[in-house]
Amino acid sequence: MAAAPKTNKLGLMVKDYRGGDSTLCKGCGHDVITNTIISAFYEMGVEPHMVAKLSGIGCSSKTPAYFLNGAWGFNSVHGRMPAIATGAALANRDLKNIGVSGDGDTASIGMGQFVHMLRRNTPVVYLVENNGVYGLTKGQFSATADEGSVAKGGATCDLPPIDLCTMAIELGCGFVARSFSGDRKQLLQILKAAIAYEGTAMIDILSPCVTFNNHKGSTKSYDWGKGHEGPVHELGFVPHWEEPAVEFEGGKSVEVPLPDGGVVWIKPIDEHDHDPRDRVAALNLLREDYENEAVFNTGIMYLDPSRETLQDDMDLSAEPLWNMPLEKLRPSRESLDQIVDSLR
């Protein structure tokens, strides 16, 4: 892929996609993801003012303040960002929603809303910055902590982890990926594809908490991630206005076009032969992770560009609802007469 130009297709520079200064701990995985989000939106040439940055509560949920200053941000309440995203998507279908959540925010308090967001296919790039702990409340285990993982204070996690990718696929999500803040290159491509995707694009990202969960014995540490990550493919995204810069070698390469004209491409790595359009294969791949704790597969696990989004399901006007003129919304005098008559 060619080196990123100094300006994107809108003529904007990377700095136009930056946010405020981070107040997270130095080295926190979340900051890496923030920077990758900046790159992705820049490279995708999204107009910042058309972006809604949404989150719940947590260190991860603070991050929307650290990218895209020109976008509208909403740091809401703990675990309930999906409801906000859904409401915003209904009000203005032209907005690009990016939601940043944490494993506590999503898998603990937010589980109900997460499930129903997936079921509805709410249009949002939904990131879980997964560190296995509640960072902001100082390191308690979250529901994605692995059984047997050891806390900083020495306690061992007794419960099995919730696998958000499996859950997302089972619930019909059409864009399910797993990545690692230590693999910016992969994450960037996934993010770009997710931005081009129309429904819920769920990305579960191992994002180590350097302060509370980065020690030996933790299965969410940076070293653990580095030591175990196995990308299941090389992948990239080519937006509709760009020429593919890679040579597809045919054979095992796969190209998946998205409705907007962009293309996700995938090249197998090693023994893996994963076609992300294969739902069952995706679940099996994830099961490997589940059954063999030494494995940490990353990549786009499942991709189904065809699923209808919430707004189409609901048959909404193409024109955003929020700003429709009153004439379109308020029935006529005659209609009211009709209604009144029917009640006489």
């Binding site: 809401s76 309930r80 006007s317 193409a318």
Partner: protein, 615 residues
């Protein structure tokens, strides 16, 4: 003129002069038996005869098989409150019939299934046994339909006894079965069969009668939830999120029905409204807050348990200043309480909902006209003050049928409050999302997606300064919440103002919401029966404007009438108007039944006697 054979020869059956257009009919059935259509037919027919009516459905919290009662009050003077005395009882439920009969006053008319043999229970009633079971077999050959059809038989019998006009019954049925001609015929035939049987077998008419008059011309008959939905429709609501809960479900269900007709673009076939059934109330209010933040006029409808679940988001809406319309159709709490009974039980919980210092505008519609008007205005209030607003209605208003003047077409546009578009943003120097530019505490907001490179800001439930930047500074915090307090207090003059009906009395009554009907009647009773003239102030909103205190000051004693145990509105007034709070006496009704005039009258009379004694 021969008595029905089983009727005892008592004083009550001496049929003194008929009582016309002043009666309550109660029909006791089991729910799920389809009696609702029959009952509405009776109600509507009387209404069409020009006689003021109201209908109250007393139903259990299950779907089928339990006792249910429907009460129709017809009153020439237009009183529409519940009246606890029953004049005409129709006993179709064996399970409750003995108790039902025991509960009516002497002289009442009782229609019942013959085999129940109720006439032996009392000798001061007019009993009309009817062989419903036998008759229905004759009228309706299809066994599975008999359960429904039997109801039309009592419509016919009651019509005969009370002089309800058959033509009006037919008209009412035509309305009910407009799209089902076959069912229509079957039902009309059943009514006629009941009527024919009665004509043949009942020779004495009930002492209670109806007679055509002209007091309902032009009026509509509708439930409050429909009116509220209609108000929202005309307000231009674009996003409604809900989770079903009795007694609020029909707010959004009515909106769905209306939207199917009036919000589908005729050209594209696409919808100009999003109505989303959320997975629970936390999500529903989250949808509303998300949508309103993104510029939609957004609402939810719920009842008590839903409000409890929404509390966290409501606090966010208050502090981050996001409009939201929350229709709370109150039912009997606490907890699940009596889910199919009415109450004004969430007055306090809504006014100061959520943790921390909060305060929310609340409006209290009292009748159909206001259910419609406030359902519309709530959006203006929410957007003008950029804050969650409660429309506090209740089961009695929301789910019962009330007579009303036809809905008026709203003149003028809508008030979207201080929203800056691209030009507005460009024109404003040094815009800050939470800056008090005009001194009224209300800042200017921008909507996500506004182009031009200005107006983007970061919304949060945590501390923030005038520019919406994160802040933990204590003075910034205090300044911000002081502004919020000012802002909400400022809404008092914009909200629906209290309505006074003063007649120069030193005794005042304050009420709100559905206590209205009973209080209006009670004041007439107080005047007529006790020579006690009263002044009356009907509150329509919280926070209170200054006029409330002034009104109270002008009176010696003030009774606050409400439908809850703790005197919640009285308590709000104690907080907000401490100088005059000692003047407030409290009349509370909290059985879950709609308030009746007699309860109010008796309480005022007793309290006044005390007050006199003390003088």
């Amino acid at each position: 003129m021969s008595e029905p054979s089983t009727a005892p020869d008592s004083a009550a059956t001496a049929h003194p002069e008929p009582i016309v257009n002043r009666l309550s009919i109660q029909i006791a059935t089991v729910n799920g038996s389809g009696s609702q259509t029959a009952n509405n037919t009776l109600l509507r027919a009387i209404f069409q005869m020009g006689i003021p009516v109201s209908g109250k459905n007393l139903f259990p919290s299950n779907i089928a098989g339990l006792p249910t009662w429907f009460t129709i009050r017809a009153n020439a003077d237009g009183y529409t409150a519940r009246r606890s005395e029953v004049d005409v009882l129709v006993c179709m439920n064996a399970q409750t019939s003995r108790e039902d009969v025991a509960g009516v006053p002497p002289g009442a008319t009782v229609v019942y299934e013959e085999s129940l043999k109720l006439d032996t229970l009392r000798d001061d009633l007019d009993f009309y046994p009817v062989p419903f079971a036998k008759l229905v077999r004759e009228v309706c050959p299809v066994v599975s339909l008999r359960r429904l059809v039997v109801n039309m038989l009592y419509v016919g019998v009651v019509a005969h006894l009370l002089d309800i006009e058959l033509a009006e019954i037919e008209k009412a049925l035509q309305k009910a079965f407009a799209t089902k001609p076959k069912a229509l015929d079957l039902n009309i035939d059943a009514v006629k069969a009941g009527l024919a049987w009665a004509e043949e077998n009942i020779t004495t008419q009930s002492r209670f009668r109806v007679q055509r008059m002209d007091k309902t011309a032009g009026k509509v008959l509708v439930d409050g939830n429909y009116a509220t939905a209609l108000g929202a429709l005309f307000a231009g609501v674009t996003v409604a999120a809900w989770y079903p809960i009795t007694p609020s479900s029909s707010v959004t269900e009515s909106l769905i029905e209306l939207a199917d007709r009036y919000r589908v673009d005729p050209e594209t076939g696409k919808r100009n409204i999003a109505i989303i059934q959320a997975e629970d109330e936390l999500a529903a209010i989250g949808n509303v807050i998300g949508a309103a933040w993104a510029g939609a006029r957004a609402m939810t409808s719920t009842s008590g348990p839903g409000i409890s679940l929404m509390s966290e988001f409501i606090g966010l809406g208050y502090y981050a200043e996001i409009p939201a319309v929350i229709v709370n159709v109150q039912r009997t709490g606490p907890s699940t309480g009596l889910p199919t009974r009415t109450m004004q039980g969430d007055v306090m919980f809504c006014a100061y909902n959520s943790h921390g210092d909060t305060r929310h505008p609340c409006i209290y519609p009292a009748n159909i006209e206001e259910a419609y008007e406030f359902g519309r205005k709530a959006f203006d209030i929410a957007e003008r003050y950029q804050t969650p607003v409660f429309v506090l209605t209740d089961l009695d208003l929301g789910m019962n049928l009330w007579m009303a003047d036809p809905f008026e077409y709203p003149e003028g546009g809508i008030d979207r409050g201080k929203v800056l578009d691209q030009a507005g943003l460009a024109a404003m120097e040094d815009w800050g999302r939470y800056k008090d530019v005009d001194g009224d505490g209300i800042p200017y907001r921008s909507i996500p997606g506004t182009p031009g490179g200005k107006g983007a800001y970061f919304t949060r439930g945590s501390g923030h300064d005038e520019y919406a930047v994160y802040s933990e500074d204590g003075d910034v915090y205090a300044g911000n919440v002081d502004r919020l307090k000012r802002k909400i207090q400022g809404s008092a003059d914009y909200l629906p103002q209290p309505i006074a009906d003063d007649r120069g009395s030193k005794v005042g009554i304050i009420a709100y919401g559905t206590s209205e009907a009973a209080v209006a009647e009670a004041r007439d009773q107080l005047r007529g029966e006790h020579g006690l003239e009263t002044d009356y102030l009907r509150l329509r909103a919280f926070p209170f404007p200054a006029s409330v205190q002034q009104w109270i000051e002008a009176h010696d004693r003030v009774y606050v009438v409400e439908q809850n145990r703790d005197g919640q509105m009285r308590n709000l007034m104690r907080i907000e108007l401490p100088e005059i709070s000692v003047k407030l006496d409290s009349i509370r009704h909290y059985t879950g039944m709609p308030l009746d005039a007699r309860t109010v009258t008796d309480a005022v009379v007793a309290a006044e006697a005390n007050a006199e004694g003390a003088n």
